[in-house]
């Protein structure tokens, strides 16, 4: 792999209580690219994404083995500041999650809590973030209305803007378009492709087709195992593993 890797997952095993949901996973995530991780339900993809910024800590009975290196540093190391880690590795969830406050406050929440006080700085940051997620034109005149009034697609772009406002290095997206219509999906995909210039993006697409449209590289997971990974075109056109081929041609999943 010629591309510099941003995250390096080494020998990751992940358990909920006794159940092993990720098995001996090794994966490099390239910088400034979109990596799509796809597979059927219960393959451990959501868990993997949640592990990357240690949201998985919130789940009782969760434990892991192995390490995940972010810029060469293990995120499981005892001296890691969780707050800081989560600011560097942002996350967008599968359903839009506007918080019960105005559009502006939703986007400004992260920076504000991180200590940014100046009003002008905040305004600038909110605008930049909303522009990057292609929502600015829709909402610039009603920033103080409750975020819940936005449409589903707009809400999800708001969530992306909210993550962007943190100036993260990595953005994780867990089936971000699963609750959206095709037009909203297209808009979000468009923004993502532009965003990869500055960010490392890991997406669990809600369809294989979405991975095909936007991902530079893809990884296929099944039952906690990483079956295959590589450049999108290669994996899609010439899958090395029969199971990948079966999944892509719709034999199961």
């Amino acid at each position: 792999m010629t591309q510099k890797s941003k995250i390096d997952i080494k020998g990751l095993n992940f358990y909920y209580e006794q159940k092993k949901v990720i098995k001996e996973l090794n994966l490099e995530i390239p910088e400034n690219r979109i990596l799509g991780i796809f597979g059927p339900a219960n393959s451990g993809i959501t868990t993997l994404l949640r592990t990357l910024n240690r949201l998985s800590d919130l789940t009782a009975g969760a434990r892991h083995e192995g390490e995940i290196l972010l810029d060469g540093k293990n995120i499981f190391a005892p001296d890691v500041n969780l707050t800081e880690l989560r600011r560097r590795v942002g996350m967008v969830f599968d359903v839009p999650t506007p918080l019960p406050m105005s559009i502006f406050d939703n986007v400004a929440l992260g920076p504000r809590m991180g200590g940014l006080k100046s009003k002008t700085d905040l305004e600038e940051k909110v605008e930049t973030s909303l522009r990057m997620s292609a929502l600015w034109d829709d909402v610039k005149d009603r920033l103080d209305t409750p975020a819940a009034r936005l449409s589903g697609g707009q809400q999800q772009r708001l969530c992306i803007a909210r993550v962007l406002a943190l100036e993260p290095e990595v953005i994780l997206l867990d089936r971000p378009c699963s609750a959206l219509d095709p037009i909203s999906t297209a808009k979000i995909e468009e923004s993502l492709v532009q965003l990869k210039e500055q960010y490392t993006i890991v997406i669990a697409p809600h369809t294989v087709q979405q991975a095909g449209r936007i991902a530079d590289r893809v990884a296929f997971m099944l039952m906690g195992d990483l079956i295959e990974q590589g450049y999108t075109q290669e994996v899609f056109s010439f899958p090395k593993d029969k199971r990948t081929n079966d999944y892509l041609t719709g034999r199961f999943g």
Binding site: D57, L58, T59, A60
Partner: protein, 289 residues
């Protein structure tokens, strides 16, 4: 849902009982100090507190209202609590003036006291009740439940519904003292906690009998003659109607300052007129002035 809490396992669950007690103690102290803090931060003004008999309370309220209108600087708070509580409060200086509707007992004699008015006690029945007069003995027997039917005292045949005041009430103790002698009011008597409630009940119930302050008798009820003597003010003043009691103001030591001027106001012609208008019988001390 609740098991998602971060890093919780190690935390509190293992907290030992001892630690728990310490923390609970801390919370108690917190609560206490909060109360004290709020108490101290508010400098109370020097309100004169008048506490005691709820029979006297309404009259004291009327007096205080007028008094405060005359002297806007003065602040007077009237509290109930009953005669005994009022006397105790005066002894412990938590009230400036105590109100009592009974005479002072031994051990309370060190207080300074003055009769502000007399109150008559009326025995009342429903206006529909044909009876007009009862003897002291009959009333005693009714309240002791040895007479239980109106026909036994010359009325129509129906059960007597006895209404009394509650234990501790000055009106009740006056009634017991003046009429019951050695006998007790039957525990079967209905107990109401105010003159008004007794009056209301007698007004509603043709078979009821009760006793209230003479000043509160209204058209809804009928005051009975006692041993042939009409319950009126004149008859109380000439001592022919024997059911009456004193209303006292008590202070610890000779009253001074605002206490004195309020008591003086009460005994003044204007004060006595107010009380008289409410149905009380003017105090001998007031007339002497």
């Amino acid at each position: 849902m609740f098991d998602f809490c971060e890093d919780m396992k190690k935390g509190i669950v293992t907290c030992k009982l001892l630690k728990g007690i310490k923390v609970a103690g801390g919370a108690v102290i917190l609560t206490l100090s909060m109360g004290l803090l709020s108490a101290c931060s508010q400098a109370p003004e020097s309100a004169t507190i008048i506490a005691g008999s709820t029979s006297v309370q309404p009259y004291a309220e009327i007096l205080a209202e007028r008094y405060m209108a005359l002297d806007p600087e003065a602040i007077i708070d009237i509290q109930g609590g009953g005669s005994s509580a009022g006397i105790t409060a005066t002894q412990t200086h938590s009230a400036g003036i105590g109100m009592s509707s009974r005479s002072l007992e031994d051990g309370e004699k060190d207080l300074w006291s003055v009769e502000i008015a007399k109150d008559g006690l009326a025995i009342i029945v429903n206006p529909a009740n044909p009876i007009k007069n009862l003897t002291s003995d009959q009333i005693r027997d009714i309240y002791a439940a040895s007479i239980t039917d109106w026909s036994q005292v010359g009325g129509t045949k129906s059960k007597i519904n006895i209404i009394a005041r509650e234990e501790g009430s000055g009106t009740r103790s006056a009634f017991t003292e003046l009429l019951m002698g050695k006998k007790e009011i039957t525990p079967k008597a209905i107990v109401q906690d105010s003159n008004g409630a007794v009056r209301q009940l007698v007004a509603d119930d043709p078979n009821a009998i009760g006793f209230i302050s003479l000043g509160l008798v209204s058209d809804e009820v009928k005051a009975l003659q006692l041993d042939g003597v009409e319950a009126t003010r004149d008859n109380i003043m000439n001592n022919s109607y024997k059911l009456s009691r004193q209303f006292l103001f008590v202070t610890s030591g000779e009253p001074t300052g605002i206490q004195k001027s309020f008591i003086d106001f009460t005994l003044s012609p204007e004060g006595q007129k107010l009380l008289s208008k409410e149905g009380l019988i003017p105090s001998a001390e007031g007339e002497a002035k």
